[in-house]
Symmetry: C2
Subunit: 144 residues, 2 copies
Amino acid sequence: MFSKACEYGIKASIFIAISSSEGKRVTPKQIAEEINSPQAFTAKILQALVKHNVINSVKGAYGGFEIEKNDISKIKLAQIVNAIDGDKIYRGCGLGLEICDENHPCPVHDKFKSVRTDLQNMLESTTLEELAINIKSGASFLKV
Amino acid sequence: MFSKACEYGIKASIFIAISSSEGKRVTPKQIAEEINSPQAFTAKILQALVKHNVINSVKGAYGGFEIEKNDISKIKLAQIVNAIDGDKIYRGCGLGLEICDENHPCPVHDKFKSVRTDLQNMLESTTLEELAINIKSGASFLKV
DNA sequence: ATTAAATAGGATATATTTATCCGATATAAA
DNA sequence: TTTATATCGGATAAATATATCCTATTTAAT
Ligand code: FES
Ligand code: FES
């Protein structure tokens, strides 16, 4: 469904959101430990998220990654997925036709589109804040 | 969403269903032309579908691939996806946790599960026959 | 200024997926 | 029995995704 990079990106963003809500910046090392991911690879993904303005980075000693407190409730999963996997999950044809087009549909177009739209709605309506709250309360987990 | 192999497998199965309904066997060459896929790679996928009893093969001259006419309305997309991509699309965690478990859910478990179940229902209720009919009528397309 | 700690980013390595090639085997027809 | 035509299956190649390594740059604290 999502690439590994995207999975790491989502989990990392949630952890950064939690830390930022507590006023703490975090390093790729801490993030990788917390979400059980390869550190250097995770660092690359964080760079991409910075470039797409999902998270902020602060260089130098006492630096790290963070998210503006006020942004945590505004950032949607869709932004993260889009930053890393692009929009093929929303717009791509389920059977790999070059473009998904109502006027030239593949055999599963209608049925696939329905599922795909549900996924899109889910990603566009889910905020980092609610996911972070669930982790904090112990209702969900980032690893194992 | 699906692997390339799975996309080819679905499209190939639809084309074989159409041909078989007309009493004709088809070769990997014909299939690859019809669905715009690499021939040798497609042949591998056909072998997997034969092993999983989705399609039949007949070796030797005048041989090829076919589907029992009576089976065309019984074969569901889910069988094809399962034969090629396995069941991770139905059972795997959206964020890559080792197992998707109600008692140890990832942050998106509930929302993801809903989408995943819709996809599963779609795949389990869609028959090769209905997809083949849509192609025959010109309502949908297998390539470009 | 110097040092320590952190991100940025290029180069490289590994694993997986996708794709190609070729010879072995099976089978229908002549 | 011979020939032509298929699938089968192993070996290999190419492309992409995943992962690691190392150096440069930035910055806070001393
Ligand atoms: S054309 Fe295939 S999903 Fe729209
Ligand atoms: S645990 Fe992640 S989807 Fe169920």
